[in-house]
């Protein structure tokens, strides 16, 4: 459907050689993964502003703290004089990108190598707090006092810009904006660039920092956020549970280093896994609600399976979009339809139960969790799934992580506007 057999047979293979995460669980790949598998969560009452006037009081914020302990000390990552040139979503993107690039060990030595290394990091919303602050400056009649850094601080593609400047990566410099599907689209599209020969290495992923008054108020007005668990933040994100009442917003970034397989092998890089399938679709239905039976999601997953050339039954783990909204059961329906008779063998969880919905960063962070699920043969849990709103043959990994044989994983992300993306990762 999305790729002719001819292209598929010739395409270059793409592997993941570096990963970085900053999330409400903290900083660092292994720190995030061990906390996630242990069933911990990153939720609390919103601290970046006073949410008392709004219906939703809970979010997942990146914890501050000394470097090396899982906390964020921004000056260790972004020089103080540069911090004001970037909105927080860029700060978080820089932290995760730095971890991923260093983890990969990729240091281009020649101009040719630099020109073959690109960046594609997106965001769902971009510099919302920066836009809010600048609007006040203009509203107060101080338009001439607007910082010259306002625009580059708010622009979504500036994570890619800053990463390229920091490391001298002169290849394709691109960005993705597809709301909550951004992270998967960025990794999928960047993989395609490598497959098609536009680059040998791509730094890809998503970053988001929308836990601010404008972000929380906006999603509250859209009736998208959980409001029933303001006094018990750890219980607010509960995918597939009958008492779920909306998503919990999180902030953070997930970045991977993607590399052409032979290129990675030649330099002896550590290889986490391979991007084998990628599928996209549009609902053509409604700006915020998924179509009946989440048929757009079904088509995205089906396209990913087809491009991977695998048997659906070989997928051992699905990282669901699973936002803790009414749409959870529609995704479940689509996944059941995809797996058919094999539904009883697959595990599917929503890690948003631990970190919330990172919007444009969600798909990237969740793709990384899926790769780690393959690496360790562990399906991370769905927290708070006390009473599923309906039964399913699919094991949704309630409460506790499960040790399972996982060689192939599928990760889903769907966004406002009716955009759907699925990615399939495999052990190498």
């Amino acid at each position: 459907m999305i790729q002719s057999a001819g292209v598929a047979s010739e395409r270059r293979r793409v592997v993941v050689t570096g990963m970085g995460i900053v999330s409400p669980l903290g900083l660092g790949l292994e720190h995030n993964w061990s906390r996630l598998v242990a069933g911990e969560n990153g939720f609390g009452r919103i601290s970046s502003f006073d949410p008392s006037d709004l219906p939703a009081h809970v979010a997942g914020e990146v914890p501050a703290g000394p470097t090396g302990t899982g906390g964020l000390t921004l000056s260790d990552w972004v020089p103080v004089k540069d911090q004001k040139k970037m909105d927080r979503f860029i700060h978080l993107g820089m932290v995760a990108a730095t971890e991923a690039v260093e983890d990969s060990g990729w240091k281009p030595q020649t101009e040719e190598e630099r020109c073959r290394t690109g960046v594609m990091i997106g965001s769902g919303i971009g510099g919302l707090q920066t836009i809010y602050d600048a609007s006040i400056t203009v509203h107060e009649g101080r338009a001439r006092r607007l910082s010259p850094f306002f625009i580059p601080s708010a622009l979504i593609n500036l994570v890619s810009g800053h990463v390229s400047i920091k490391y001298g990566f002169k290849g394709p410099n691109h960005s993705v904006v597809t709301a909550c599907a951004t992270g998967v689209h960025a990794i999928g599209d960047a993989s395609r660039l490598i497959m098609l020969g536009d680059a040998d290495v791509m730094v890809a992923g998503g970053a988001e920092a929308a836990v601010c008054a404008l972000g929380i108020a906006g999603f509250s007005s859209a009736r998208a956020l959980s409001t029933a668990f303001n006094d018990t933040p750890e219980k607010a994100s509960r995918p597939w549970d009958r008492d779920r009442d909306g998503f919990v917003m999180g902030e953070g970034a997930g970045i991977v280093v993607l590399e052409e397989y032979e290129h990675a092998k030649a330099r002896g890089a550590k290889i986490y896994g391979e991007v084998v399938g990628y599928g996209m679709s549009g609902d053509a239905y409604h700006i915020t609600a998924p179509a009946e039976g989440h048929e757009g999601a079904y088509r995205a997953m089906q396209a990913a399976v087809r491009s991977a050339g695998i048997d659906v039954a070989d997928i051992g783990y699905v990282n669901a979009h699973g936002t803790s909204t009414m749409a959870d059961d529609l995704e479940l329906e689509a996944v059941e339809r995809l797996f058919g008779d094999a539904a009883g063998k697959v595990a599917m969880s929503s890690t948003k139960s631990a970190i919330g919905h990172l919007l444009g960063a969600a798909g990237a962070v969740e793709a990384i969790f899926s790769i780690l699920a393959i690496r360790d043969n562990v399906a991370p849990p769905t927290l708070n799934l006390d009473n599923p709103s309906r039964d399913s043959a699919i094991d949704r990994v309630a409460h506790e992580a499960q040790r399972r044989k996982i060689d192939i994983a599928l990760s889903n992300s769907f966004g406002f506007g009716g955009t759907n993306a699925s990615i399939i990762l495999r052990r190498v």
Partner: protein, 79 residues
């Protein structure tokens, strides 16, 4: 050092994240203190705000060193 010079120095240290000892009168914002063109725009805005003066664009373009800034502001304040 005048009060104005002190305040200019403080603003430069704050905005460019440089050590105070480097902010000499002769120091060039771009060549010595690591500023780029947008940094200098922001610096001039900070001077305007801090000293309640207007620095028109053609004047701002001529402010290249710490001393240039101090001289310009002192002249405006004396006028």
């Amino acid at each position: 050092m005048s009060e104005i010079a002190d305040k200019v120095k403080k603003i430069v240290v704050e905005h460019l994240g440089v050590e105070e000892s480097k902010v000499t009168p002769e120091a060039s914002f771009i060549d010595d203190l690591g500023a780029d063109s947008l940094d200098t725009v922001e610096l001039v805005m900070a001077f305007e705000e801090a000293f309640s003066v207007e620095i028109p664009e053609d004047a701002a373009e001529k402010i290249a060193t710490v001393k240039d800034a101090i001289d310009y502001i002192e002249k405006q304040k004396a006028a």
